[in-house]
Amino acid sequence: MTLEILEPGLSTTVQDRGRFGHYNVGIPQGGSMDQLSAEIVNALVGNTAEEAVLECTYLGPKFRTSAPAVIAVGGAPVEVKVNGATAPQWEAIELAAGDEVSFGFLQGGTRYYVAVRGGIDVPLVLGSRSTYALGALGGYQGRKLAAGDQVPVGDTASGEVLGAIAPELRPAFPAETEIRVLLGLYDHRLTAAGLATLLESTWTLTPVADRTGLRYSGPEVEWKEREQPFGAGSDPSNIVDAGYAVGSIQIPGGKEPIVLHRDAVSGGGYAMVATVISADMDSLARSAPGTKTRFVAVSMEEAVAARSEGKALRRSIWG
């Protein structure tokens, strides 16, 4: 079975849980930015959590099925249309051969996910089907989808179609959010005032937000002046190029903090001052430009507890 892509949308890519074990040579983890939403739509169509889905960004694709299929759409709120008629989000939808699926405008958030029973069946590359566009690796021919693509769907789903998911389990897409961070890495290079600015300001997500990272506008953050170490570059926000933690926050030149996400470069010469905890990486990915954001410092113990809560929530989806 294939999905024939009639219109590709703005940036539609194949993603799964990600590609691990090659960050040491600069290959990012990739994978669905909003893992929970991707996991729910997989559960709805009876896939495992490992199956690949389509990640749609802002403007979705239009596609036609070559055979009967079961799909589910979840993530950012959007109108789903089958042959032009509205169909529900967060529910399994049965399609006949030749049905055309398209989408309306987003009503919040940034990305939504389309799961197809059987999973998107592109080849595994380094253990993952996720698209790494910069390296022309994985996904559908290493790139975002284009009109005319025939996207293969697997035929081996064994799980039961769930039908629908309880409303309280669906992720929210608020216009204001709190993101929990663990301070560390190079936070000692900020002045006390700089650190207070980071944690006490309300930051606004700019349109410069994609799979590599999210840039925020707000007040300037003060770095301590110093004589720079050899090889570190001339600005106080520079360090000798180092590995970047996924989720880490850097503030080049003290302006516009950038939070790195799943397709970020694996290293560079900007000091990181805090890292978004693993439990909040999905919330971060759900933010739309304009989202008012506060970064709230938590302890390692709180980060690990939040991670456990997230895992328990995900277990409840699978019943």
Binding site: F20, G21, H22, Y23, N24, V25, G26, I27, V125, L126, Y132, L134, G135, A136, L137, G142, V181, L182, G184, L185, P229, F230, G231, A232, G233, S234, I239, V240, D241, A242, G243, Y244, A245, V246, G247, S248, V265, S266, G267, G268, G269, M272, T275, V276, I277, S278, M300, A303, V304, R307, K311
Partner: protein, 303 residues
């Protein structure tokens, strides 16, 4: 090396800090040096050797080390104490050596591809007239581009980190600090860089593995791929990325004719890199760099 840190001066100095609940960051030194890189690499190798359950990524960098772990399988405190043990082991190793390889990388310096790209982004450059090579020669007080190119390919470079994008090597010149070529990055990054551009920013050389944005000055173009997702060439049979931290690189200047001949071999699938196994001895390299480098590079002539 006169003012370069010795291995002894870095004993027990690493700083341990967390990148969220999944990353441990170990800063060996704030400043770049061969000794700091050697220690980062040695710690990474030893951590890999322990095959600790829950360690998912081990990423040695120039003067630091990033370790990713799964906190459901390995507690943060347990990982930190294992790393601190490893640091002591590395600090106490009697005669540190690294078994690695020396690789010859053919480069067409001052080529038309990087020249054209450099010209397109000239308006915001530190030195709008001339080329990046002219600028690099000037800031290093050298007679001109030719002298800069000669200095660039006459000494070996250590691959001190692989990353940024897939397979991109950062390289540190194996000469005393006062002889190292240093060039500031572009004032504002370019939105385009030809694939395989040989670049330079601060004290680091690099080879851009893929086309894209970049802020390093551009000096030439490597003739053969360093990242091959299709794994069509023999050097990529086992893995799509060519470089590993610890590799030692010798650039070899080639002209247009040889560049094109190598390109043909690449297209025909017959190109193989010239490389030899070598043992890198940190103490010897720091003790008498000039004669050590001469001896090291002779390995390529013998092969």
């Amino acid at each position: 090396m006169s003012d370069t840190l010795s291995a002894d001066s870095l004993k027990g100095t690493a700083r341990y800090t967390w990148g969220g609940d999944e990353f441990l960051f170990v800063e060996i030194s704030e400043a770049m040096s061969l000794a700091a890189n050697f220690k980062s690499n040695s710690m990474a190798t030893r951590l890999g050797g322990r095959a600790l359950a829950g360690v998912t990524e081990i990423c040695p960098a120039n003067a630091s080390l990033l370790v990713r772990f799964d906190p459901d399988l390995l507690g943060a405190a347990d990982l930190e104490s294992a790393m601190r043990e490893i640091e002591v082991e590395v600090d106490n190793a009697s005669h540190p050596v690294l078994n690695t390889r020396l690789i010859e990388i053919p480069v067409w310096y001052d080529d038309p591809y990087t020249r054209e790209t450099g010209a397109r982004f000239r308006s915001g450059h530190q030195r709008p007239e001339g080329t990046d090579l002219d600028f690099a020669a000037e800031v290093n007080d050298l007679s001109g581009a030719d002298e800069f190119i000669r200095r660039h390919h006459s000494s070996p470079w250590l691959v001190s980190m692989v990353g940024f994008v897939a397979g991109l090597p950062f390289m540190f010149q194996m000469v005393p600090r006062e002889q190292q070529l240093e060039v500031p990055k572009y004032l504002s990054p370019r939105t385009d860089t030809p694939p395989l551009t040989v670049g330079h920013g601060g004290c680091f050389a690099c080879i851009y593995s893929v086309r894209g944005a970049g802020g390093y000055q551009m000096f030439g173009i490597a003739a053969a791929p360093i990242f091959d997702p299709a794994q069509s060439l023999a050097d990529f049979k086992d893995f799509m990325v060519f470089f590993k931290p610890g590799d030692i690189v010798k650039f070899r200047p080639v002209d247009e004719v040889e560049y094109k001949s190598i390109k043909e071999q690449v297209d025909a699938g017959t190109f193989v890199y010239k490389q030899v196994p070598v043992t890198f001895d940190l103490a010897e390299a720091l003790g008498d760099p000039e004669s050590y480098n001469t001896k090291l590079l002779e390995n390529l002539n013998d092969s």
